[in-house]
Amino acid sequence: MKLKARLLSLYAVSTILIMVALGVFFYSTLWEERISSVRYDMLNQLQHIDFSLNDFFTEVESDVNALAVNEIIRSKDDGNFTSFLNADEKTYKYNIGDTEQKIIDIMNNYRITHHYVNSVYMGRENGSFVRSHKRERPTRYDPRERPWYKLAENNPGKTMKTGAYPSLTTSDVNIGFVRALIDERGMFYGVVGADVTLVKLTGYILKFMTNPQGKLVLLDGDGLVLAGLSKEMLFKNINDYSPDLLKIFMQPGQQVASVNIQNEKNYVFFINSTELNWKIAVLIPSENIEKPIIAQIVKTISGLLIGLILLSILTLIGLDIYIVRPLKKFMDETDYIASTSDLERSIDIKSEDEIGLLAKSYNQMITTLRITYKSLKDTEADLIEHRDHLETMVEDRTSQLQAANEKLSAEIKERIQTLNELAVAKEHAESADRLKSAFLATMSHELRTPLNSIIGFTGIILQGIVGPLNDEQKKQLGMVRGSAQHLLSLINDVLDISKIEAGQMRIAHENFSLGQTIEKAVESARPLAEKKGVDLAFSISPGIDTITGDRRRIEQILLNLIGNAIKFTEKGIVKVECEQKDGEVNIRVIDTGIGIRAEDMETIFQAFRQIDSGLTRKYEGTGLGLSICKRLVELMGGKIWVTSVWGSGSTFSLSLPLERKDA
């Protein structure tokens, strides 16, 4: 079912897309056609109306001409026209004579036979006024002051058309056709006229509308509504109806435009009537133009929809027959195998299509499975037999292993206990060691305080500030100072070694010139060498420059090694060499002294070791110097070692990295 649902939704989506696309396409093409056909139709009709209006006005004009030449109406005697002048202003009762009555009859007759004519009238130079029918609300009135009268008077010999004007006595809007009365001698003596009412004109022109979808409007040059629209709009400016519409009309030459009137979209078609200087327009709601198009589109799309639905149904039926049902067969088969493990059945589909091929290959697969399954069964039986045997073997081994395991556990427990005991012992030892180092540091410090005053006071006395000294006193005080300074150096050594052992020795990290440091050390040892008569030399290979390390400690090491070399050399030379190689500097202190015995070589760098008690007596020292040197060098990441030949000299070598890497 799922496959069908998917296909169905695919159809639905594509159908909707096709419908929308077609709808849009039809609408836009049909709209173009429709609007141009409506435009053609409308403009034709408007031209026709324009023509008819002209015709109509020409007819009224000729009627007025006919009235103007009527002998009775042309009656010259003003004495016949006194009823209007003499009428009582309160009652407006007229005393009408024969001639005047005849004229009234002619006029009224004309009015009745021409239904679009509102009134027929005559004004005269004596101020009298004759009209086809009685005025509904008579008032005081002088025709000579009226615009229509003046228009005719100023244009003798022609029939004139007044502009549209509202009637004084009724709510109508009128257009008058007037002509001057001139006698044989050329004297002007009155005006004859007929009014066409625009309410009736609206009815007249509406007769020409063959298309009732829109509203016809007649406007004068300023946009005043002369006919059409509603009665309320008559003689009002179109601006009150729609300002947009006025703008459209005021643009020259434009004949069609769309405009929104009271939230409704309208199309306006109009022409300029050149004869009358009017505009004749028709307003059609766009809905009316659209209607036929929509109807057509709905018709087309409905047809298509039915076609597509039929196609969908046929496709789904095909899907069911050719794909879904065969698949169901496959599903039934696989379900059967899953639940029964029976591989003896096959699928019966004989068709030549892909489904048929699938069935064939499925059947082959089942056959292969059947064979494989059978051989698996055989193997399984063998395996079960083996397994049973294996289980007993495993049980045997397991019990053996358990026994061994227990034994091992006991041993491990014992070992752990030993380890714990060892850790406690180590802790004790380390704590004792720390105490020893702290004690030595404090002691060294305490010893330096009294030495300060001993060395200080002997110095002052030796300077002779306190008082003059004899030579023997100077000699003995010099010995005191020498002994005190020796004591100080011993204390310093003890302090150093205790600091190193307490892990408090910190190595500085500064850039300095190794060459200068070597030179300084050599020069400060020179007085000692000269005193002993030993040559002292140094050589620094080129390329030795600034290195990074602890300048003071390196100086201390060098002083120690050079001092030792001088101390153990009776005659000959002490030489310091320095060279750079593979990121290291190598410094050698070479002497031609007594050398070191092979058996002493291993212990020479250990603390508190005396090589020879006899030697110690001869060469004073703590035996700490080399030990301190070795530890300092190692703290700096370097190495120190000695080569020696007993009786002919020793060489102490040290190598230091150029850039110390922190451990």
């Binding site: 540091a441 410090h445 330096r448 305080t449 009294p450 030495l451 300060n452 005053s453 001993i454 060395i455 200080g456 006071f457 110095g459 002052i460 300077q463 500030i465 100080l488 310093n492 302090l495 600091k499 408090q504 020795m505 910190r506 500085a508």
Partner: protein
């Protein structure tokens, strides 16, 4: 007199030695034998320089230096530590506490005064 120097030192012999050397060089020497009295004397005396032993009974030299620096009157007074603490890193600790210089014990009478005068204002120099 070339200037007033306050020596804060608990060891009688060392105090005598320093006083003697400085007086020989015409300095006026005042002494205090513990940190507390040293701080008080410094505040009233306003010395030109203070020589400070680091290992003092009670309040140690570091604390004394820090305390002296808190007094605005003594903010600029040079303090030179004189100590037998020769451990590496002691110099840094001493400078951190607010001292201007550091002389290791035992002192050398030949160079002692010269070292101190490096820290004295110019007017007192020879």
């Amino acid at each position: 007199m070339k200037g007033k120097i306050l020596v804060i030192e608990d060891n009688e012999q060392n105090l005598y030695l320093v006083r003697y050397i400085l007086e020989q060089k015409n300095y006026e020497v005042f002494a205090a034998t513990d940190g507390k009295s040293g701080i008080e004397t410094a505040a009233s005396l306003k010395p030109d320089l203070i020589l400070l032993d680091i290992q003092l009974p009670g309040m140690d030299g570091y604390a004394v230096a820090r305390n002296l620096r808190k007094n605005p009157v003594l903010a600029e007074t040079p303090i030179v530590a004189v100590t037998s603490y020769a451990m590496q890193g002691d110099r840094e600790k001493v400078m951190e506490a607010g001292c201007n210089g550091y002389i290791e014990k035992p002192i050398d009478p030949d160079t002692f005064v010269e070292k101190i005068e490096q820290h004295l204002p110019v007017k007192h120099k020879r």
